[in-house]
Symmetry: C2
Subunit: 105 residues, 2 copies
Amino acid sequence: MADLLETAAEPNRRRLLQLLASGERSVTDLTRNFPVSRSAISQHLLLLADVGLVQARKEGRNRFYSLNAWGMSRLRGSLESFWTAELDLLVADATTLHQTAQGEL
Amino acid sequence: MADLLETAAEPNRRRLLQLLASGERSVTDLTRNFPVSRSAISQHLLLLADVGLVQARKEGRNRFYSLNAWGMSRLRGSLESFWTAELDLLVADATTLHQTAQGEL
DNA sequence: GTAATACGTTAGTGCACACTAACGGATTAT
DNA sequence: ATAATCCGTTAGTGTGCACTAACGTATTAC
């Protein structure tokens, strides 16, 4: 799983990135927000670190993970290059259609 | 793989969505843009259809796949709810830092 | 009509992923 | 000091994914 966007897309990892947006957090602390084990979360974090989206800081027996701004910037770029103007047009039409349908109810 | 964003994130499927942005295409036609088999592409298309991002139209012995505007609209929504304003701030800083670094060369 | 060909899907396989269980390392309590 | 506890990672396992090979079906050539 070398791909940046694909790595970030997995639901648990997506959530991890969002949680880390508000600041660094330990593995155990992050785990509280998930139904899976500390180990699972640790491994998701290691994957995110592999692609450069997060990094860890050791302090005592804790490891505080935080977002890597540069990696997140690259992710943003990937998203933007994926979502072309052509798709915006398509979606604009769909939204219009949907709103029309809603209005017609 | 029920998750919309995760399904769309896989590199080949991402590319398929982009190719389909310019209009409907047959499986064989789409396959020309990939190093993998027609079968592989067909299966990716079936997955995309499962989550409602594309649909197929039969004509002769061809099946023309096209984007589902409403599905793509939902995808757009998922992307937007993932990428919070907080992340924009973080990335803005990173970009600034990078530009500074570039300027310093 | 029938043989040949083209298109897309289903069958089958290897591998990677996501997870729990077991572990090593560090800190705290006594 | 040492036993107990907490934190994060590595070991081991099952499932699901991405892919090629084989197949069914429909069209075209003769």
